[in-house]
């Protein structure tokens, strides 16, 4: 039940580089969301309540294109379903016993990056350490979003319209390095792109098209290359 200050500080140190990295990405998110028409206030709330890159970008994109709520829900679920696996890996490393309410609190801060650092820890994970680990990433993510959102409002509209591509360019920056390193990822990405282009010509909403293509491509990849995945 006691709070371990040493563990918390160790977590803070581990989380510092993540927090700094998040500032730049969330500036981009703030710019993208506000230039798409979401208010500054709502944009910051998205970051403070979601704390996730791809899921927020997709969700904000769907809000901007006025997609129905159930599509937003399904898209968010599909994109963030990987967290199930990550939380699961973190669970294996927790210092037990840990009461449920503590897991409910630190669990909010599990991201691709905090997860990676957490599972790389040599020691068992305490509640205090996990809270330290997620503190600076949370602050960085929020701060960057505020900066990006406020910057955008100061830009002329003609420039704002050219910023929408930033989101897609970032997606490309996430995809391409993984494609270079793995033939399997390259395969599933190509399948997703081709099916997405084809579905563009059918009368399917963009939210559903994304889900269908993503699940189809990943499913096909998993069927054809069911390799042992490192967690």
């Amino acid at each position: 039940m006691n709070y371990d200050v040493g563990q918390y500080k160790r977590g803070l140190r581990r989380g510092l580089p993540i927090g700094l990295g998040y500032i730049t990405v969330s500036i981009a998110f703030g710019i993208m969301a506000v230039s798409g028409g979401i208010s500054v206030w709502n944009t910051v709330i998205i970051s403070m309540t979601n704390l996730t890159s791809a899921g927020q970008f997709a969700g904000a994109g769907l809000i901007i294109s006025a997609a129905p709520l159930y599509e937003i829900a399904i898209a968010t679920l599909v994109i963030n379903i990987r967290y199930l696996l990550m939380s699961f890996s973190v669970l294996q490393k927790l210092k037990m016993p840990m009461p449920i309410w503590k897991r409910l609190i630190f669990g909010f801060g599990i991201t691709d990056e905090t997860f990676t650092l957490a599972v790389l820890e040599k020691e068992e994970l305490t509640f205090s350490f996990m809270m330290g680990l997620i503190t600076l990433p949370y602050i960085g993510w929020t701060l960057g979003t505020v900066i990006g959102a406020m910057l955008t409002n100061m830009l002329p509209l003609s420039v704002q319209k050219c910023l929408a591509i930033a989101l897609f360019a970032m997606f490309i920056a996430l995809i391409v390095p993984a494609v270079k390193r793995s033939k399997e990822v390259a395969f599933v990405v190509v399948v997703a792109v081709i099916s997405s282009v084809i579905l563009k010509f059918l009368p399917i909403s963009s939210g559903f098209s994304i889900i269908i293509c993503a699940v189809f491509a990943a499913g096909l990849g998993a069927k054809m290359f069911p390799k042992e995945v490192e967690e």
Partner: protein, 100 residues
Amino acid sequence: MSKVAFAIAIMAVVTYLTRVLPLILFKEKIKSNFIKSFLHYIPYTVLAAMTFPQILFSTPSIYSGVAGLIIALLLAFFEMGLVTVATGAVITVLLVQYII
């Protein structure tokens, strides 16, 4: 509650649940290779399906969209990082829009 606020609440709840459900429910490790591989691939396929072909229509004209895409692919290929790739694409789009 406005529709946007509702959408944000839904996003937040769904995201939160994917994070904490395993922490409070699961007991055994996932054994299926299929599911593990699927979960490994899904972030990339989602991003790919979101980007293509929409990136081409995300700018004021398709010419700047194509130019931005090419520059983004090049910068990403040389692993310049998220912010550099995004900035490079935006500058390209601004330049092309200015020229045409």
